[in-house]
């Protein structure tokens, strides 16, 4: 019988990153920040880094029956220099990890990451010799969407949550070098 360890030290992280504690910067630049965040939120250009089944689900999301177009987030650019939201869907293996890291480093400016599905979030059912147990040990993740694969409504809800996060100014732009690999 294996005991499931909690995936990270919540008490410490809650102190640093709790959403309610994040406040806007100084009052003088309040209006500019507000305008900036509004415009960022309403035109997120996504880079879909899909490797397996979650890529199929993401593809059908911007189709005829379901639509992420209402959020302005279905404009997919397959080029990291022109996008600011990275959606990681699918299993990430050790072979793929340096490529993911270099794609993230090539993205400019304020950038955010959504980890979609069980495999990207924590390795999923694959606890083996070649799968990275969670993308957060390579790049900083903002929003997790559980499911295998998550349904289209869940992904759209994830985008809405990302919007809230950007409006509050939360950003994890620092690479987690202190987090041990494979936690």
């Amino acid at each position: 019988m294996s005991k499931v360890k909690p995936t990270r030290d919540f008490a410490k992280i809650e102190e640093e990153f709790l959403l309610e504690k994040l406040v806007l910067t100084t009052k003088a630049s309040g209006l500019i920040d507000w305008l900036k965040r509004r415009s960022q939120v309403n035109s997120l250009w996504t880079f879909p880094f899909g490797t397996s089944c979650c890529a199929l689900e993401f593809m059908s999301l911007s189709g005829e029956t379901q639509s992420a177009g209402e959020l302005g987030a279905d404009l997919t650019r397959h080029s990291p220099e022109r996008s600011d939201l990275l959606v990681v869907g699918g299993t990430i293996t050790e072979k793929q990890a340096p490529i993911l890291k270099s794609v993230y480093e090539k993205m400019e400016g304020p950038k955010w990451v959504i980890a979609m599905g069980a495999c990207a979030a924590s390795g999923g059912p694959y606890n083996t010799y070649s799968v990275v147990q969670g993308v957060s040990s390579i790049i900083p993740v903002d929003v997790y969407i559980p499911g295998c694969p998550p349904s289209a409504e869940a992904v759209i809800a994830g985008f809405h949550l990302m919007k809230e996060r950007i409006l509050k100014g939360a950003q994890r732009g620092v690479l987690p070098e202190t987090i041990e690999k494979g936690l």
Partner: protein, 560 residues
Amino acid sequence: MGNSRELFQKCEDQFGNSRLTEYRPMEWVLVADLEKLQEDFSFLKVHCQFNLLLDICGVDNLSKKEGNLSGKRFEINYHILNLEEHIRIRVKVYLDEKESLPSITALWKGAEWFEREVWDMYGILFNGRPKERILTHHEFIGHPLRKDFDPKKRIPLSSPLPLAPHDTRKLRGLPEDGHWLNIDPSHPITKGALRVMVNLEGEKIKDVLLEIGYLHRGFEKLCEGLNYNQIIPYTDRLNYCSAALNNIGWCKAVEELMEIEISERAKALRMVFGELARVIDHLISLGTMAEDLGAPTGLWFFMELRERISKLFTSYCGGSVNPSLTRVGGMSHDLPLGWVNDCLNTVKSVEHSMDDLSKMFSQLPWWMDKTRVCPIEAKDAIEWGFTGPCLRACGINYDLRKVSPYYYYGDVEFEVPLGSKGDVYDKYLVRMEEIRQSLKIITQVLDYLPVGRLNIVDGVSLPEKSEVYKDKKALDKYRSLIRDGIKVKPGEIYSAIEGANGELGFYIQSDGGNTPYRVKVRPPCFPLFQSFSEIVKGNYLSDAYATLVSLNIVPGELDR
């Protein structure tokens, strides 16, 4: 069929009685010696027409409790097919740690990647082949499928393989200079997990180097620690476009190993879901072909049809991408009321839309200009090990549903479309026509759907929950079936179904426990992608793109 008797006699005269046996009808086993291996293979290929190499599978006998006849550590199984007589032969070789095997790439071109995989997973060398890894990364230490390798030990990679490294070029006799272009996994045409390096001269391709393994998740190592029913959610994720076919292939292999018969209703339902999954796979493949060849709205036309069929899967089992709809011994549950009506309505509407769609692509000059490229000859296709729509596009009439029918495929009427030249246009036409034939099969099966109980096999299928609530005996049986799983007697089997991309085979070895000892998947797109480097030489880069999407490479199945 008389020919197979003569063939068996001929082989018996050559090899001797003790080495060649008929394990099951149309499945022979030959136990070969290491010294005479090369001659045996040339005899099989040249005189007995065993011309399609299906698979090379290694086994480590270190912790086997029963069934290790020779006492040596490693065992290599070669699966070869005779296309005309439809006979499969399994050639077994036993060897120790330091011994090495002769390479058979001179006889079958498609053996190269299979031999690389055996070196990668087991550390067995083939004479004359270099030590090149294929599925694990180039800084990996150890050989994962050996029994003394810890499955959870991870080895990170510091930097990706450089572009066309010098040692690789030297090994293959490629020129030292040249303009190499890297098409990375993050390029949209590669579906996220393939790497193609091309050497260009102007716009024409001179050489191609391939790298796979970006989605290698260790499925085969995982299976050695799971029950037979727990493996079913993992088989969903092999070919995620047509998940139901993988489930059916796995359950059929286990049931043949245990020699049990499932109910008639379960067989018919499996046929229906298998054909629906095949239709979805072809639609996705054609849709991505249209998008990558410059008609992006074509993708949405095909996807809209796919959505209609996915609704059928959703109403049956809650999800279309990962259904897990079969269990060993039958299906997970029965159809809801009214499902058959919905299925027939959907099939009618999809058939109607297919006519419009085909008029939008076939015979149009811009589509034919882009797709009448890179023809493949039939004898090359057999050398490389092609099966499925790509083989039928070259003109060879080989479909497992017609040749060795399983379930009720012998009783339904359908035709097998054949192409002539093997180019991209032929593959497109073959897939469009196969969609129509699958829809025809579905209507025929649903018209005569058998009734009765679904899961009838005692000791394998779970008892109904309503019985378990009342009866203590049923509860005990339920508990032991779930906690311990199904026990399978020692033996081995290679069982194949006609997958959406070709022959999907499962090779299972059991040593009497409740987990399999060795599981090997024969992926249909492995030999297809291997031949890519030879097909596109001398063509333009855009033609290479067209060929890549027409092969329908699904990385989940390629890398397992």
